[in-house]
Subunit: 80 residues, 2 copies
Amino acid sequence: MKARIVVTPKKTVLDPQGKVVANAIQQLGMQCVSEARVGKYIELDISGENLELTRQKLDGICKDLLSNPVIEDYRLELEK
Amino acid sequence: MKARIVVTPKKTVLDPQGKVVANAIQQLGMQCVSEARVGKYIELDISGENLELTRQKLDGICKDLLSNPVIEDYRLELEK
């Protein structure tokens, strides 16, 4: 099984890294890029077949370990 | 338009950060997680309607700015 987790700063939180990336892209000639947000991407290889149980456990791990729920959102995708 | 870019270390490249994440997840009771890889996620807000031209320009920016093609792969998704 594969899990893909994307952790991004919440919409209401300032993202200085994203600002820098947006500026750099504009400098490279793409003025059409108005905003950038930079987050983390984590890909996991998982053994086992119980999709629902795995999702529950991973949800906990996303909250406790992989993201900071105060300032970050996460998105979890599981694929057999 | 929205662009989502995922930058991951190539399969053949050691990913120490991923190793640490995999270990930590196993310590938290999910021994079924055998491997983790950690990458970057970048989300862009783009004005304009020309999907094909935007994709070409962004491809260049992914190669030149957002990833290091020697050790990293990128995946680019565009969505109207």
